[in-house]
Assembly symmetry: C2
Homo-oligomer: 82 residues x 2
Amino acid sequence: MELYIGIAAAIFGTVCWIPQAWKAWSSRDTSGLSLPSNLMFLLTVSLWLIYGLMVGDLPLILANVCAVTAVLVIVTAKLKFG
Amino acid sequence: MELYIGIAAAIFGTVCWIPQAWKAWSSRDTSGLSLPSNLMFLLTVSLWLIYGLMVGDLPLILANVCAVTAVLVIVTAKLKFG
């Protein structure tokens, strides 16, 4: 049971920033996004990716490659559109 | 070394949404926030909290109590201010 809850959390955590990345890039409406929060979150998912690579954990690597990509799009949109 | 990277990732992941929660609530500028992303992220951190409670992992519980609180503020601000 814990395993399924952990898997569900990992899947939602992987895909959840895709709508925000899409919205920020397509609407250019980024004034309400916090740059410190998104930079810290980019650092967070980058550190998890490095950790996953160091311990050789494939689910952690795949989830965080996806998250790093989405959050990079959000941070780039914020820096570009203000 | 992996341990320190994991700990750093956990700490940044815990505090990173506090500036966004503060910004959303104080500025009421929430039009650029994606409701689907923030609802999915609320589900994600809630599931991690439940998982932490089930397996009795104190760092996971503390980190996700903090994250659930910050993301609840963001979702409430988004629903209230549009």
